[in-house]
């Protein structure tokens, strides 16, 4: 049996995004603590914002507008993104 096609584009974790790729923000997982979620919003990670992954190790670094943001794995893996 093949699974039904996903309703939207496929969602992947930010940590699973290859370096250099631009993706769209989809959702923050429930695992992210509310204060940190607020912090992410304040940094401008909101809406269907387009972000570019610059590196994954030792921390995930993304370019959002013209700001570089470093995220620890524990947070980045609960951020869901989809291909542009």
């Amino acid at each position: 049996m093949t699974p039904p096609p996903p309703p939207h584009l496929e969602r992947i974790r930010l940590t699973g995004t290859p370096t250099g790729r631009s993706v769209r923000l989809a959702e923050f997982g429930e695992e992210i603590d509310p204060l940190q979620r607020e912090q992410l919003l304040a940094y401008g990670l909101s809406g269907a914002q387009s972000i570019t992954v610059l590196q994954q190790r030792p921390m995930t670094v993304v370019l959002c507008e013209h700001m570089e943001l470093a995220l620890e794995r524990d947070v980045a893996q609960h951020i869901w993104v989809e291909a542009e």
Binding site: Q36, L41, Y43, S46, G47, M59, L71, E72
Partner: protein
């Protein structure tokens, strides 16, 4: 940084003067603008969290008005300690105008904050700063359109170059209370409406609009809540907020408010700004990426440390100190002063007081001017360049894992690195950390194992004079101690570690003028604060020596100092000196100079590095953490210092 060690240089303004506040995100140029608008220099550096306290000075264009430089806010409602300081200023000052300093290359984020500021009912002017960087990245903002929408002046500026500052000054009198940027959804608006009506009736604020306060209150701003609770009708309002907060939807009210503001900011940013394609590969971005690269980050760090070592340890502590201390003070100045004093005061105790073994001139001033001054000068220069480059924040990315091991996150790198400049100021900077737990652990590690500039200089001077290896062993010891005590502290102090999320400011070419200004400010601090303490210390040593107490202390300290630490017994005197300032104690060891073997020098420097923090920083710990914590820290630090020193002594003897 040392700047806060001396009192603020702000021009005097009466406390109830009309107040203009510079408000904005961290690291957008508020302090540079503050300098342009008031002529008062406050520390400017390329990392978030430089300003942790409100600075105040009279405005250049209107001496009767007082201008505030506030700590950067990531967002309002306030959450962190420094954001709360800004909120407090907005609530308690005689506020007539807010100048929002924005970042033109991150317009959406800037407008996110504007969406809240426009609700406060205070006239607003937007200084859209960093337009040079925006241009370099292909971003153009339609300033007129933005001003039109906000119904208030918007001025494009480049604070560092002074562009737009005149226009900004001219715009200030034309500021009006801006048009609100958005309407929240119906349900949220209802909640806001209810609370607004209550505030307007029971606890009106003299300057801020009730609606703005209601939004902040519903967003759980603790400062606003505490202001409201201090008003006569406050308790009732807070009760009402508790009552309606859970009613609005699945998402929490603060999150909902923030999301709506984000949406409005995004929409507005889209209509007034443009991004031309292909312009976002800048040199600054490339260098910045190299600095946080999983592989290249390390050689770069090593290179940076080596350059600093050669500039400070070799050139400053070697060449310059040699010229000053040995050649000028040793050969020329001190013999002349000694002869002069002795011919006028005879050779009794009075001349000993000035030019004897513990003489105010021969010890106090010579240490301060010939030994430490050249070292701290070179250090402050190197430090200022690094601060301005933006490298320090990048360090937190590669150090995050190591800091994870000690229960902190990479954000703590900044206070620790700043501690190398001045531990006292760095202790204040712990306010940028998110939790009390992180603040406590970082404060402890700063007090225990981070040498400040003056001390670092002496360490370089002593160990660099022996060999690079000796300095490296000292460095490894200190890092190990940081890791071990940090790990223990992380286990002992309750609470959870917070994962790191941090902005990395762009790498910038340091501004020479700014580096020089900072260096001279810090040197002034050094001269004003350290020299009197050195003189006082020398005087105490002189008195102890005269009273015959010093030989007694040296005798009493023998088992520990000679037995356990393996140092010559005269080193006890250095530890006594260390009580006043660690660097003074270290200088005492420096003076023993060639009497020390390599191992003794390393052991002495490790012990004195860990020894009690300086008086000023103990006072800040009292202030920030309370006396219980401060006393507890001191009680832990001293025994640890001697314990570790002894262990190093014995371990080194096993291997060398």
């Amino acid at each position: 940084m040392p700047e806060s060690c001396h009192t603020s240089p702000a021009a005097p303004v009466s406390p109830d003067a009309r107040t203009l506040a510079l408000v904005g995100h961290p690291n957008v140029g508020k302090s540079v603008l503050f300098h342009r608008l008031t002529g008062t220099y406050v520390n400017v550096s390329n990392y978030p969290g430089t300003t942790v306290e409100v600075a105040r000075a009279a405005a250049r264009f209107d001496r009767a008005a007082s201008m505030l430089d506030t700590p950067g806010v990531l967002a309002l409602p306030s959450r962190s300690e420094d954001e709360r300081a800004t909120m407090r200023a907005l609530l308690n000052e005689n506020l007539r105008l807010i100048v929002q300093v924005g970042d033109a290359k991150n317009l959406r984020r800037t407008l996110n904050l504007t969406a809240l500021l426009t609700e406060l009912g205070v006239p607003l002017v937007m200084a859209l700063n960093m337009t040079d960087e925006a241009r370099a990245r292909g971003v153009t903002v339609d300033v007129e359109a933005l001003a039109e929408t906000l119904a208030t002046p918007v001025v494009a500026t480049v604070a560092t170059g002074g562009e737009g500052v005149a226009a900004l000054t001219e715009a200030l009198p034309h500021a009006k209370a801006p048009a609100p940027m958005l309407r929240y959804d119906t349900e949220t608006e209802q909640a806001i409406h209810t609370v607004t009506a209550l505030i307007a009736e029971r606890a009106p604020h003299p300057h801020l609009a009730a609606r703005g306060l209601a939004i902040l209150l519903l967003g759980r701003d603790k400062e606003v809540a505490s202001w409201i609770s201090a008003q006569a009708g406050g308790a009732e309002i807070l009760a009402k907020v508790e009552e309606i907060a859970p009613l609005v939807g699945r998402e929490s009210l603060p999150a909902r408010l923030a999301r709506e503001r984000g949406r409005a900011a995004e929409a507005l940013a889209k209509t007034v700004s443009q991004q031309s394609a292909g312009a976002d590969r800048t040199l600054s971005l490339l260098v910045g990426q190299l600095a946080v690269h999983p592989i290249w980050g390390w050689p770069l760090l090593l290179l940076m440390l080596l350059v600093v070592y050669f500039f400070v340890g070799d050139f400053g502590a070697g060449t310059l100190v040699g010229l000053l201390e040995e050649d000028f003070f040793g050969e020329i100045l001190n013999p002349a002063v000694t002869t002069f004093v002795q011919t006028h005061l005879g050779s009794g105790w009075l001349s000993e007081l000035f030019v004897g073994e513990y003489g105010l001139w021969t010890m106090g001033m010579t240490y301060a001017l010939a030994l430490i001054l050249p070292i701290v000068t070179t250090f402050f220069l190197a430090f200022g360049v690094l601060e301005d480059s933006g490298y320090f924040t990048r360090l937190s990315v590669i150090a995050n894992r190591a800091f994870g091991a000690i229960g902190l996150n990479g954000r703590a790198v900044l206070p620790m690195v700043l501690g190398l400049g001045c531990v006292t100021m760095a202790t204040l900077t712990t306010r940028i950390l998110n939790t009390p737990r992180e603040r406590l652990i970082t404060t402890f590690l700063l007090a225990l194992a981070i040498p400040c500039s003056a001390q670092l200089g002496v360490v370089f001077g002593v160990l660099g004079g022996i060999s690079f290896g000796a300095a490296a062993i000292w460095g490894v010891c200190i890092v190990l101690i940081l890791l071990v005590t940090g790990w223990l502290a992380g286990k002992l102090v309750k609470g959870q570690r917070v994962p790191l999320i941090t902005e990395l400011p762009p790498m910038r070419l340091p501004v020479l003028g700014n580096v020089l200004k900072k260096t001279s400010g810090r040197l002034k601090w050094y001269l004003v604060e350290v020299i009197p303490l050195f003189l006082l210390g020398t005087f105490i040593m002189f008195v102890l020596d005269r009273l015959g107490v010093l030989p007694w202390i040296i005798e009493a300290g023998k088992p520990v100092v000679t037995g356990w630490l393996g140092l010559p017994s005269e080193a006890s005197a250095a530890f006594v000196m260390g009580f006043l300032r660690r660097d003074f104690g270290a200088t005492g060891l420096f003076a023993l100079g060639n009497q020390l073997s390599m191992i003794q020098a390393v052991v002495g420097m490790v012990t004195i590095t860990l020894f009690v923090p300086c008086v000023a920083s103990v006072m800040i710990i009292f202030k920030e953490q309370g006396w219980r914590t401060a006393v507890l820290m001191l009680a832990i630090i001293m025994p640890v210092a001697f314990f570790v020193g002894g262990v190093v002594n014995h371990v080194l003897h096993l291997f060398l």
